[in-house]
C-alpha cells in the first residue's frame, strides 16, 4: 500500500494534470490579484504614516513547538517611571523596531506573561527591549512589571521600577571574553566597566543602549561530571564572566551612577 507521501504525490499529479489541460495562461484571478496589489500599494503609500502606528503586529513569541505554549500579550501601559527615564520608550515604535526585534522575541518563554508589544524596541541590530507584565524568575518567585532584554539567545529581566536607578545590565561570555550590555537612563553618555585585575573599558551610549566586551573571564570553576561520564568526576565548568564595577558617566565624564550595582 502506498504511504502518505505517495498518496499526496498522486493528488498533486492529478491537480497538475487538471491544470495542464487548461494550458499555461494568465488567469483572470492573476490579473485581479495584480490590480488589487496595485490598489493596495497606492493605499499604502498614501496612508503610510498612519499605518506605521496602527498596523497590528502579531509576532511569534517564544518557541511554542518546544515549550508547548506561548507567552500572553498585554495592552497595559508601561510603568511611568521607566517610560520617563528611557527616551527609547518615549519615541514611537517603528517598522524597524518590529523587524529587528521579531526574531529576538523567540527568546521569550511561557514563564513571561503579558508581553507589552507596543513597548518593544530594537536597541541595535541583535538586541531588543521587551517590557512584560510578569515574569517568573525562579520557582515561586516572580517580578511584576519587568523590563527584559534579549539578544536572541538569552533573556534577562529586571524590575521596571528599578531601571532609573540601576538600568538593566546583561552579562554573558564567549570562550575568551566577558560581554556586558544593557540599557541605562537618559543623561548617561558613556558606560565604563572596571574589571577586577584588568584595565577598564568604556563605550558610548546610543539611544539608552550600550555594549562592550573585555578579554577576561573568571578562572573556570570545576563542576561535577554528568552521570556515566567516563573521565574524572569533576570537569571544567562553563566560562564565568569576570567580576567588576559598572560606572555611568555623563557627557562631562562625571560619574552619575548607578545608584547600586
Amino acid at each position: 500500500m502506498p504511504d502518505f507521501l505517495d498518496r499526496y504525490g498522486a493528488q498533486l499529479h492529478a491537480a497538475q494534470s487538471r491544470s495542464a489541460a487548461l494550458g499555461p495562461r494568465r488567469t483572470p484571478r492573476t490579473v485581479a490579484r495584480r490590480r488589487a496589489a496595485l490598489i493596495a500599494l497606492a493605499v499604502l503609500v498614501l496612508a503610510a504614516p498612519a499605518l506605521a502606528l496602527t498596523r497590528p503586529w502579531d509576532p511569534v513569541l517564544g518557541r511554542p513547538d518546544i515549550d508547548g505554549g506561548t507567552p500572553s500579550t498585554s495592552a497595559a501601559p508601561l510603568v511611568v517611571s521607566v517610560r520617563d527615564s528611557l527616551a527609547v520608550l518615549r519615541r514611537e515604535q517603528t517598522e524597524q523596531d518590529r523587524r529587528l526585534a521579531e526574531p529576538l522575541l523567540r527568546a521569550l518563554n511561557p514563564r513571561t506573561e503579558g508581553v507589552q508589544l507596543e513597548g518593544v524596541r530594537a536597541l541595535r541590530d541583535g538586541y531588543a527591549l521587551i517590557p512584560v507584565k510578569r515574569v517568573e524568575i525562579a520557582p515561586n518567585r516572580h517580578i511584576d512589571d519587568a523590563i527584559c532584554l534579549s539578544d536572541g539567545a538569552s533573556l534577562g529581566c529586571h524590575p521596571a521600577q528599578s531601571v532609573p536607578e540601576t538600568g538593566v545590565v546583561m552579562l554573558s561570555t564567549t570562550e575568551t571574553q566577558t560581554r556586558i550590555w544593557g540599557v541605562v537612563p537618559d543623561g548617561v553618555a558613556r558606560v565604563r566597566f572596571e574589571p577586577e585585575g584588568h584595565a577598564p573599558v568604556e563605550t558610548t551610549v546610543e539611544a539608552n543602549f550600550f555594549g562592550l566586551s573585555v578579554d577576561a573571564l573568571e578562572p573556570a570553576r570545576r563542576v561535577p561530571a554528568p552521570p556515566g561520564y567516563p573521565g574524572p568526576s569533576m570537569i571544567p565548568g562553563p566560562p564565568t564572566p569576570v567580576s567588576g564595577v559598572v560606572r555611568w558617566l555623563d557627557e562631562h565624564g562625571r560619574v552619575v551612577g548607578p545608584a547600586r550595582q
Binding site: D3, F4, L5, R7, Y8, G9, Q11, L12, H13, A15, Q16, S17, R18, S19, A20, G23, P24, R25, R26, T30, R34, D58, P59, V60, P64, D65, I66, R106, D125, G126, D151, G152, A153, S154, S172, T174, E175, R179
Partner: protein
C-alpha cells in the same frame, strides 16, 4: 535513473509551467523527504509536519503555474523559503494554512500510525541540507546554516567559527543576500 541524466530542478519547474503533467511529480519526489524532515524537526508533531509539507508543495505548484512569476532560479532554496513561510504563518495563526491546497482542490491528508512513524523516521534520517549550499562558499554556508536553520546566536556562531561577531553577521548577511538573489521572487 543516474544522477547525470536527471533533469535539473529548474528544468522540471519550467516543464511543469509548460504543461508537462509529470514534471512536478519528479520535483516532489526528489525533495519531499528533505522538506518533511526540515518541518518535522521544527514542529516535532508528525501530523503537523506532514500537513505543512503538503501545503508547501501545493503552494510551490500554484506558484510554478503562475505565468506572471519567474521560475525560481534556485528551486531548492526557493522551496525551503516556502516551507519556512508556511511554518511561520501557521505559528502566527495557530493552524496550518490550506489555501494552496484549496485552490488545487486537494483533499486533506489522512495519516495512520504507520505514516506518523514514517515522518519520524524521515526526520531522523534525512540530510535536509544536501544540495542547498551550491551557491555559497563553505564559510558562508556554515554561518547561514547555523543562524537560519539551527537558530544559533551570532555570539555562538562567532565562537565556533573563530571570528568576531561582526564577521559572523557579515557572512550571514552576505549569504542571505546571495540566496535571495538566487531564489528570486517567491510567490508563497
Amino acid at each position: 535513473m543516474s544522477g547525470m541524466t536527471e533533469p535539473p530542478d529548474r528544468e522540471l519547474l519550467s516543464a511543469c509551467r509548460a504543461g508537462d503533467p509529470e514534471a512536478f511529480g519528479v520535483f516532489y519526489v526528489r525533495h519531499r523527504q528533505r522538506i518533511l524532515a526540515y518541518l518535522a524537526r521544527r514542529v516535532r508533531q508528525p501530523e503537523v509536519a506532514a500537513d505543512l509539507m503538503a501545503e508547501t508543495f501545493a503552494a510551490a505548484l500554484v506558484a510554478t503555474r503562475d505565468r506572471d512569476a519567474p521560475v525560481a532560479s534556485a528551486p531548492l532554496a526557493w522551496l525551503f523559503t516556502i516551507a519556512r513561510n508556511t511554518l511561520i504563518d501557521s505559528r502566527r495563526r495557530g493552524r496550518v494554512e490550506a489555501e494552496a491546497r484549496k485552490r488545487l482542490g486537494l483533499s486533506p491528508l489522512v495519516l495512520d500510525d504507520q505514516d506518523l512513524e514514517r515522518v519520524i523516521e524521515i526526520a531522523e534520517a534525512t540530510d535536509i541540507l544536501a544540495g542547498l549550499p551550491e551557491t555559497l562558499s563553505a564559510e558562508e554556508w556554515e554561518a547561514v546554516r547555523r543562524r537560519v536553520l539551527d537558530e544559533e546566536a551570532y555570539a555562538d556562531i562567532a565562537g565556533s567559527l573563530r571570528c568576531s561577531e561582526a564577521v559572523a553577521r557579515k557572512r550571514v548577511s552576505r549569504a542571505l543576500a546571495q540566496l535571495r538573489t538566487a531564489i528570486g521572487a517567491v510567490h508563497a
